[in-house]
Symmetry: D2
Amino acid sequence: MIIVIQCKDQVGLVGSISTILAKHQLNIVSMREHVDKAENIFFVRLQVEDGDDTGLEATLKEVLPEGATISVNPIPHKKVVVLVTKEYHCLADILIRNFFNTLGASVQCVIGNHATLQDICQRFDMPFYHIPHEQPSKAEFEQKLTDVIDQYSPDYLVLAKFMRILSPGFVTKFPMRVINIHHSFLPAFIGANPYRQAFERGVKLIGATAHFVSNELDEGPIIAQQIIPVNHSFTATDMVKAGQEIESSVLANALKLVFEDRVFVYGNKTVVFS
Amino acid sequence: MIIVIQCKDQVGLVGSISTILAKHQLNIVSMREHVDKAENIFFVRLQVEDGDDTGLEATLKEVLPEGATISVNPIPHKKVVVLVTKEYHCLADILIRNFFNTLGASVQCVIGNHATLQDICQRFDMPFYHIPHEQPSKAEFEQKLTDVIDQYSPDYLVLAKFMRILSPGFVTKFPMRVINIHHSFLPAFIGANPYRQAFERGVKLIGATAHFVSNELDEGPIIAQQIIPVNHSFTATDMVKAGQEIESSVLANALKLVFEDRVFVYGNKTVVFS
Amino acid sequence: MIIVIQCKDQVGLVGSISTILAKHQLNIVSMREHVDKAENIFFVRLQVEDGDDTGLEATLKEVLPEGATISVNPIPHKKVVVLVTKEYHCLADILIRNFFNTLGASVQCVIGNHATLQDICQRFDMPFYHIPHEQPSKAEFEQKLTDVIDQYSPDYLVLAKFMRILSPGFVTKFPMRVINIHHSFLPAFIGANPYRQAFERGVKLIGATAHFVSNELDEGPIIAQQIIPVNHSFTATDMVKAGQEIESSVLANALKLVFEDRVFVYGNKTVVFS
Amino acid sequence: MIIVIQCKDQVGLVGSISTILAKHQLNIVSMREHVDKAENIFFVRLQVEDGDDTGLEATLKEVLPEGATISVNPIPHKKVVVLVTKEYHCLADILIRNFFNTLGASVQCVIGNHATLQDICQRFDMPFYHIPHEQPSKAEFEQKLTDVIDQYSPDYLVLAKFMRILSPGFVTKFPMRVINIHHSFLPAFIGANPYRQAFERGVKLIGATAHFVSNELDEGPIIAQQIIPVNHSFTATDMVKAGQEIESSVLANALKLVFEDRVFVYGNKTVVFS
């Protein structure tokens, strides 16, 4: 059983929480705790076993500061919808893990603004919706996305190389529930064509960043980052290929962390108990 | 203030400990906890602030299982003696950090079985003892080492590329208090000339390992490891040079972890709250 | 066009080779060269363009030392047969790349000593042969493997977590054409259960090694290696999972290097022009 | 002997060069070559042995395109002047390597705009000049720097955490001969306080970049970059400390590459034959 709590910090929190757990005969198997001293916020993730969690959340609420976020035994197997454009590498990695039940979540469907990835989805019996972005308006495009998404009530949306910018209105519907893979080492190379930018700049490392989507372009809270060395012999195209190798890896890692309730968001930052 | 505890695991340990801390008005700033389920051992490292630690250790002892190791506010600035042979890179790194007070410990003296590194020590006003290993017997060599070491009552001995194997009798005097840097990615290439072995084997990565010294050659508990890529263009000598770059880095990292009381030893393993 | 040459070293080789290329109006786009001074062997890989390669190999032979290995425009798209047992991650990665034509080779079929991975192969219309290893004798098992393999005349066999040891007789049929992924940082943890060994040893990094198969267990020439950090919180099972993440990555990287004719083997080592 | 050539690309360059070397009985021990197809520039670094280089440069000039840069046996042991402010880690690393003759260059003197690092320099008998930046004008400050530098005719200036921005006029005097260590993963976090910026942004990796200084702030050609992972438990100060560990390492690496004539600059990029 997993328990995650985020609240204002105060003296004695760990004591109060663990006393309550002991009363419920819940044995702490592992515990990760962090206090942001500057912001005065307390974060804890507990893995407990045995015991009885009846009424646990209410009892915890009584001893914790007002406004505490408490999640006892969060949904163990999240539902996700994946949005894609044409690049296959991140989607294929997710489909494989989903197929072999090692994703830690369950993919409900895939939506593509191009039809390119329909075939690979069908091979895994995965529903695929082709919703072209060429619609009378962006609002209509996003309405069609929403219509499909709403059928599945997903816990998270995963943008697996989805190359369209979503409107604030859309993003607001899924606060800190949209996860994107950005093909650069943010905050370097924000926006379009980061590999071309990296090539022009002559960098010696390129990166990839998995982050929650907020309404500032490429500015949401970062979950995970990874880099790969490059050199003068790389063309811009070679950099794209090298980058793809880490994009799927860093996205898979970020998803695992989120699906295991190891990621807390506050302000524009994350606490990650990896 | 730092508190480190290692004991048999049982239900309610975190609750008992944090309740006692709250009674002392000690606020938990950070806490790292681990339970080895297979061995049933509980490890915790707490950083607390404010409050009053009078009688804390005794109070903790009452609620913890028999045999618990409790250290309240361990020596904040350890004393160390460094043993060297001829290679300068690890020693120089330690001397520099010591000189600028960023080592997290205080180097008392350096002992060399060669005189090569006397000059660099003198430049930092660091006492240097030249004790050649060519003595009538190994026992006499080690007795001379012990005579010098005993003058300084160090908390730790650091073997900074000390190329002599110490006898079980010597090591036993400093249980889990001798830290060695081994120039390979243990357990690969145990023993002499690991870089030559690595070269012959044609590996594509070479490593360095910082570990506590036990009485099995290169077999003590590992604290930290690091690697660096190599390729076909590296001669055995090039591998030595590449390895040296990470040897000083991984040793410095391991020392920092040990000096900050972040490393627990049990059996032949470590728990490292990095 | 790719040209790879391996021969005894002597003065003027680069001059002789490049003069001949110039006569054929072949422009050198990129060139990687290495001389193993100890063994006195010269290696070169040239990428050339334009020009005419008629008779090029014969002309080169005339100026190169006796015994030179010359390959002008080696098979651009190798044929491979993949052998598997039960673990899906390396195979799935290969199937995906093969499906999207980014493997740099063409997978002809997959052979499993278990039927576990038949389904994933069928989803990609990939022929799968289930050849159980429980046969009257190892010789009969390997004969059945050979019978299937021979139908496809592959350039390389890829052991993508194939958990049976092949006999010298079998390996000899495919000299330096069998590529294996070993789930450890060779030469540490040779043989069975490397992750269990790594767990017992308490290492802080685990690795994976892609290598050519020779007749010494886990001793063939190494192509590529990679590592991933682990810590005390990892069970042996967690180490297996962490290792799998790099196994597919390091195997994919090694295959790319081999398929692009960037890997030379000599003795028990490789030259890799990555 | 090292030979480095940079010129317009054309067919047959390698052939022409190696034919000339063969005539001089110069045996090619290692050769690294690169063609930037987009810019049509050819780069080569040759290590040759035996033979006779009398008149070699002139002979090469005859066969190479106009404007070729040829350097036969470049200064094997460069002279450098180091500029610092208050932080010790990069300077100390350089002084240690210089003292043990492993820097690949010879440090002539150190100039600090603060006196903080005078002591460490004196311990290594290294001339130290304290030139405060509080001068009537920046021009006067830079004139005083120049006066000292000119005494030593250095091949390179190394900014080892020198926290003043040099004027275009000053930089122009040392074209592509000023090497800086920037404490971020450029182009992220240009300008002041990059660690504070990184902390605010909540990044999961921080970096350091060694680059040639041009007249655009933090925009010169990049030589080497390196990163280190960080997490939510790092304060901005912790990030500074973590960053310092890689700053000295990446600067040392970049200096080694430059001093061994492995770095070519063109436009705002480098070719690095590492």
